[in-house]
Symmetry: C2
Subunit: 210 residues, 2 copies
């Protein structure tokens, strides 16, 4: 399992991408499937992943990201959006999907459906948005790991203006919110940060056995 650790040590938050290098369609498909297979609370997948290729849209998003060049230079920009509100419609769709995937009757899933509906009805919109956003972060973690395995560079970014992203991408009217952003591609040889030693807490500081 040394490979896993070597891969995770290889990765770093890329500051400068080589804009001439593109992630192949095959590799992109793998990463999208990694995102799709990510587990989420109740399996609701309360998110949507936007893959931004359009250069003009990326220019606009760069302006909403304090001018950080990864937004435009990376091969692809992934915006991990989560739903603002998760409601009975989402649960009904999930139940329909479960029934169809597993060859069951929707009626037999009523107890599970009612349980989920009861749970979410107790959350206000802000709490739902936080909950949904956390699920998107699980997807981010899986994505970063898969990128490292595939030697694709990735930079998780929270440094952007979410309201600006909403505006450029028209997210609010789709009940979506930009939870976290991740450009992917290949590091530029000129990016000096790739040579910096990785800074992490010691095992002793971070992990406790009970």
């Amino acid at each position: 399992m040394k490979t896993i650790i070597d891969n995770l040590n290889w990765r770093y938050a890329t500051k400068k991408f080589d804009s001439s290098k593109k992630v192949s369609q095959e590799n992109l498909e793998t990463l999208l499937e990694v995102l799709r297979l990510t587990p989420s609370s109740y399996g609701l997948q309360p998110y949507k992943f936007l893959i931004i290729e359009n250069p003009e849209v990326r220019e606009k998003l760069k302006e909403k990201s304090w001018g950080q060049t990864q937004i435009t230079d990376a091969s692809h920009l992934i915006v991990l959006c989560s739903y603002i509100d998760v409601n009975e419609t989402h649960i009904d769709a999930h139940i329909t999907n479960t029934a169809s995937t597993r060859g069951m009757e929707v009626e037999n899933l009523k107890g599970y459906s009612d349980f989920m509906k009861n749970t979410i009805s107790q959350l206000d919109t802000e709490r739902k948005q936080i909950w949904n956003s956390k699920q998107a972060y699980i997807a981010l973690g899986q994505l970063l790991h898969a990128c490292a395995t595939m030697k694709i560079d990735a930079t998780p970014m929270e440094g952007y203006d979410p309201a600006g992203y909403d505006e450029v991408l028209g997210l609010k009217e789709k009940n979506l919110h930009a939870s976290v952003v991740c450009p992917i591609g290949y590091r530029s040889e000129e990016d000096a940060t790739q040579h910096f030693a990785k800074v992490r807490k010691s095992k002793e500081d971070l992990i406790e056995f009970i």
Copy 2:
């Protein structure tokens, strides 16, 4: 890259673990290193990972987890805790670690330190706790992916009483909060859910190209 997808399809939220099967020390060390290498906002790693082995503590935690048997039957129980408050002490420690890891002078990192301190000073405690908690979810995503690669079963769980966990583990006085829980180990042959088809949204529902 078919292997990655095969591995992620192999994994599922294990309902019943085989309590006789233990994750080896070597594999556990790999998973802990995966957690340690997880990227986080500003590299602050605002979390701590508790590995619960003690059977009595696990019995108590099961009571705070609606009696779900994974808590006691799994090989190891990982409680991903995040800091409630993140403050200047954390940033100073991070700066000291950065300077020492990279052979730099602390003084040369003052601009970066001030920037981080200014950012967190604008967040109230609730927003900091949410921010910290999201970082723990990145670690969860990486952990789940690594477990799948290593054919170790894992069950991400939000269905527990966080206040009860705080109480049993004395988290609050350590400025910690149980963000998410993940028992790891090996599936029981008796767990029927392992044979259920995986339910996920279609690529068309989940992903949009722009």
